[in-house]
Symmetry: C2
Subunit: 375 residues, 2 copies
């Protein structure tokens, strides 16, 4: 696809001319790469010896293609940058127009913007348990959240959410696969839900973990966006792309919704992050590698949990939600062994979330389970 986008980009002439070389490498001293950055120790990444399994990151990123791209962008860091090329790449891969893509610094910003944009005219219908950071952002500014309780084993109750959609509701927001549960909704049921409900209000599906599932295309609601339905899909470079620290995400929606959300987005992407996204977006070899490491880790954790009698929810993501006697005590016991995992979510004091990290760190987690359970 690179050729098509390239041609469109260069003909558009938004930034440079055909065959142009970067015109900004003006400072040779700055272009050279000193051996030592002089940054204080420990500014980035986990401290030595810490297994960081608490934040759903993917430590196998970024893609190897990213380093040189970031260096080039940073040499040009004096200049405001234009994100239209990345929007065109995303649009092309997803079969939509670039005007249907809202880029933001992590998908969180676009999700917050959507919550403000839709929330001003009504409540947001959502599950009791999901990645609700951005909904809470809007709630703190006066937006109402209309939550439906979970059913079964912490499953999203689509029927209850659908029943909750009345004239007071301006948008439905779910996360699939869900966080922190890791559960995926049945694609056929979700597709039918989105088709019906989107006739009444927009349905926003946060698909942050979609690319890690066994059937990304089947699990995604992008076909409904392409079909012109009232559906919005959020994606991120923080998970399978392994670039949580680079802050790159986006929402794909109708042109009208994209414009609405864009008006609320506050920032725009930095040049290094833009370069990282462009360089890695279609790096299929790296994405397959990422996914294989996540799958390998998940199988290890599943086996260890089963061996230790821990029940866990099904997950096709890079985290597992497991039923333990006391999630806070379990977290403390892991922390005492330099293994960081998530503590309880609110009243869910018997559920513990662990992220898939480096294989050697996941091994440490698995080995520590018996002692942590006994703690």
């Amino acid at each position: 696809m690179g050729i098509n986008v390239n041609r469109r980009f260069l003909l558009g002439g938004a930034v440079g001319g055909a065959g142009a070389l970067a015109g900004c490498a003006t400072a040779p001293a700055s272009a050279a790469l000193p051996a030592d950055s002089n940054l204080p120790a420990g500014l980035f990444g986990p401290a030595p010896g810490v297994a960081l399994l608490s934040r759903n990151e993917n430590p196998y990123g970024p893609s190897p293609k990213v380093m040189a791209a970031v260096a080039e962008a940073t040499r040009c860091g004096a200049y405001y940058c234009d994100t239209s090329y990345l929007a065109a790449m995303i649009a092309e891969k997803n079969g939509i127009a670039p005007s249907q893509v809202v880029l933001s610094t992590g998908s969180g910003e676009a999700l917050s913007a959507a919550a403000l944009a839709f929330g001003k005219s009504g409540a947001i219908a959502c599950p009791a348990l999901f990645w609700d950071t951005t909904s809470k952002y809007a709630e703190a500014k006066g937006v109402t959240l209309k939550r439906s309780p979970m059913i079964g084993d912490l499953e999203i109750d689509l029927a209850a959410i659908e029943a909750s959609v009345d004239d007071s509701v301006s948008m439905v927001h779910i996360c699939n696969p869900n966080n922190p549960t890791g559960r995926s909704l049945d694609p056929a049921q979700l597709r039918a839900f989105c088709s019906r409900v989107s006739e009444k209000v927009p349905v926003l599906v946060d698909e942050a973990y979609n690319e890690l599932t066994d059937d990304p295309a089947g699990n995604s609601m992008m076909d409904l966006v392409r079909a012109g339905k009232n559906v919005l899909v959020a994606r991120t470079f923080s998970k399978i792309y392994g670039m949580a620290g680079m802050r790159i995400g986006y929402i794909m929606a109708s042109e009208e919704h994209a414009r609405m959300i864009s008006q609320y987005v506050m920032s725009w992407m930095s040049a290094p992050s833009l370069a990282a996204a462009v360089a890695s977006y279609n790096d299929d070899a790296f994405l397959a590698f990422s996914k294989s490491k996540v799958t390998e880790a998940r199988q290890m954790v599943h086996a260890a949990m089963t061996a230790n009698g821990i029940n866990y929810l099904p997950s096709e993501t890079n985290f597992i939600y497991a039923n333990v006697p006391d999630a806070a005590a379990y977290q403390r016991a892991m922390a005492a062994r330099n293994i960081q995992i998530r503590g309880p979510y609110g009243a869910l004091t018997q559920w513990s979330r662990v992220s898939m990290g480096k294989i050697e760190d996941v091994e440490r987690y698995c080995a520590a389970i018996p002692e942590a359970l006994g703690a």
Copy 2:
């Protein structure tokens, strides 16, 4: 100051332990720097042959210290990053507490957040002409702007703004030095204004260009922030630091105001941008170099304008606002010569803004003045 901040940081243990090495360089392939980034040509910076003098950038940045720091952060780009170290550096340099610093992706985001946070409870009093992008962001969401006309040679009318502050006003917002005029307010008058008016409502001063002025400390209202006045100061890494594309800025204010604004900020800084800021914040040699290039360019443009009979407003910034017969025609004539400058601002059709860029580009601008005037 490095020692103090380092100690505080390491004792605080927010990110890593004392003497810790970055624990995230897990991907040797990614750590190596390929010769070619494979980015499409022209993605960053001006196209070859274009003198980009329209956006108040500083092409002499970033500081040489930035490249290695960004590379280190990008190797750790898999992990969410913690901006508290940068907040502590900024606080220390400015004599305030870290909790008084709101970091954002460019100062624009913090300014937009402030406009929403204060604007919800009243109008924003401001000049007719200033960098109002962020105020307009809030205006589009229902916030009222109460503008006071300019006086004299496009000067901010502090008396009129003060007189406009009544119960309907929630904040005063000015920009000093102002953009697009380049004019600086008299520091004593501004300080007296801020002291008086801040007894009624918060006064936000955007000091994006402060470090480029002849007397940064004297021109800044930071002494009032330190004194606990109801004053807020915005700064950016986009100007003297030469990193517009890196999206780093901040507001310094009371702890209460900082908390208020933070609740509205939507995004957080990427790891490469954070690293770039930390590496260059106290690079005084580079800042002096930047300032010397801006001053050199300004003197060239002033001389060329005088020689061509163009009147211009006084400026201690990296741009000059000049009185020309027809700003649109003048811009077109420059563009025909591959020199990009700003076109007219609204009804100000006889005023043209040119940014100081690379010396060779500024020379081209100066040489083109006679023909552009004749166009």
